[in-house]
């Protein structure tokens, strides 16, 4: 059923365009060390070369003479890694929390949903700012900072699915076999709510890409890795005379987020056709 949904999502126009863009971005990110070997932070040419001025540096150079294309391509992997990990953690934790809350009800439900309420009340970017400043800009720190606010949406969606399915015969029979409510929630009910939560994954990835870039733009990212947000921040000093230094990394970020959103749109469309 799930593969079917993915297949049909890929068949929508949105899904097709999004998936091809995303695969291209992922391929570039994975092949970065092969395509553009060497340290992307190396100074390779004269500073502020315009794009296309030198075929060896297609997107030109920044104010120190570093190749912009190399930094963008090498910056893709950490950005995509962070965003995908955030979605994995947020979906995993959120879906489990939602399943347990819906299945157990009572105090457990009350506690989990109150926590979700509180998390959703604090602006998520302010939370991310505070968490990153405490945990540092390492990959686990970034993932924690962004996932801490992102788990509530999948939790809510899965909880309402569980409430709908709780009385179904296959759930009742599993319970009658003497299995605990939590194992049944996680192994029997949860798989049926996966498709609904999956479409949320795209929204979480897109949001995490944007937030991660905004954090590195503010100088709270890892300074030892190239990052699109940090590239844009560095370009600010020279953008009035050489706008290409901010336009190129911004376009990379924009196209990647757009691709993820298109895939999400395709998933949502396939999902609504399935339920209607």
């Amino acid at each position: 059923m799930r593969d079917d949904l993915l297949g049909r999502a890929a068949l929508t126009i949105e899904g097709l365009i999004g998936l091809s863009l995303l695969m291209a971005a992922a391929a570039l990110a994975l092949a970065a060390p092969l395509l553009l070997p060497g340290d992307p932070f190396d100074i390779v040419a004269r500073p502020l070369l315009r794009p296309l001025a030198d075929p060896a540096h297609l997107l030109g150079t920044d104010r120190l003479g570093r190749d912009i294309l190399a930094m963008i391509v090498h910056g893709a992997r950490p950005s995509l890694m962070t965003a995908l990990s955030v979605a994995a953690v947020a979906l995993g934790f959120g879906m489990a929390a939602g399943a347990v809350a819906g299945m157990l009800g009572g105090i457990a439900d009350e506690v989990i949903m109150r926590l979700a309420d509180a998390v959703q009340t604090v602006p998520s970017f302010v939370v991310a700012l505070a968490v990153v400043s405490v945990l540092g800009p390492s990959l686990p720190g970034l993932i924690a900072a962004l996932a801490i606010s992102a788990w509530t949406a999948p939790a809510r969606v899965v909880r309402s699915e569980v409430l709908r399915l709780r009385g179904a015969a296959f759930v009742e029979s599993s319970l009658l076999l003497g299995r605990g409510r939590i194992p049944v929630a996680l192994t029997v009910v949860l798989p049926n709510a996966v498709t609904v939560a999956l479409a949320l994954g795209a929204v979480i990835v897109a949001g995490a890409l944007l937030s991660e870039a905004a954090l590195s733009f503010l100088g709270l990212g890892d300074p030892n890795r190239p990052s699109w947000g940090a590239l844009i921040a560095e370009g600010r000093q020279v953008m009035r005379t050489a706008p290409h230094v901010i336009i190129a990394p911004g376009m990379a970020l924009f196209v990647t987020v757009l691709a993820v959103s298109l895939v999400g749109e395709g998933l949502a469309k396939a999902l609504s056709k399935q339920t209607s």
Binding site: T121, V122, A130, V134, R240, S261
Partner: protein, 326 residues
Amino acid sequence: MSRSARIVVLRLAGAVPTLLIVALAAFALLEFAPGDAVDAYLAETGGDAGYAAELRRRLGLGGTAWERLAGFLLSLGTLDLGRSVVFSRPVVSVIAERLPNTLLLMASTTLFAAGLGLLAGMLAGARPGSWRDRGLSMTALAFLAAPNFWLGLVLVVAFAVSWPLLPVAGLRSLNAPPGLAAAVLDTAWHLVLPTIALGAGYVALYLRTLRAGMITAWQADHVRAAQARGVGDGAVLWRAVTRPALLPTVVIAGQNIGTLLGGSVVVETVFAIPGMGRLAYEAVTGRDTPLLLGVILSATVLVLAVNLLVDLLLARLDPRIGAADA
């Protein structure tokens, strides 16, 4: 009890545990931070251990974690948020100074996004599936994907270098003409670019919400009944399809107040606006624990307050909400 009073009581009762959880979580998180505001402050000015201890005592940063927590909760009860280390002033006064600018930016962004988004949403939802609808929906998706800080910088480049038409920094001109009307106009002029940078994504949200509501409404019986009665196309579109679909868009305004505040962190930094968002950033870079706690808590209160207002507005628009037997 009237409906409004019941909503207020329910919301306030729900707000207490939320605020408590946020306060405890924020406090616990910042306790984990390596080094405190005094370390950060002394790293710049220099000073011996005795001076550090004295500063900690004065700022309420000394003692054990439990003593600090007790002090923090006690002072919260009296709406005292402590002293900011970076600004050497009470946190409350720093926030009170910054909040109006952010409220202004949030209000102008909401007006811009709702105005443009609802107009485009109506055009798209009037004929779902048409080329006009597809074009508008795709544009909306692109708006949602554009990073707001990058959009802001591109606007700065465009309007500072290519066509120097609009101001790109601050909220007031240094040489503003005298008079209230001129001052208002001056600030509105300064708000144009930050509003577009922050609001572009929300235009898309309003468009999508209204469009989705209109698509549902087109299938409703009352629409077909109106068409069968011979009600004109324009009247059907506006009164039977658009108006009922407008209600959920009010919820969008409330739901996104938090992300709007989050977005103002970068947009205020790009456009040099002294607001709450930039204050959060300054608190983080200055390791100003009392200030950061204060910003987190006041942001939470702001979100709760706006949600209460939205609930009251919704109840006014929809008599079913908050009714005794609901």
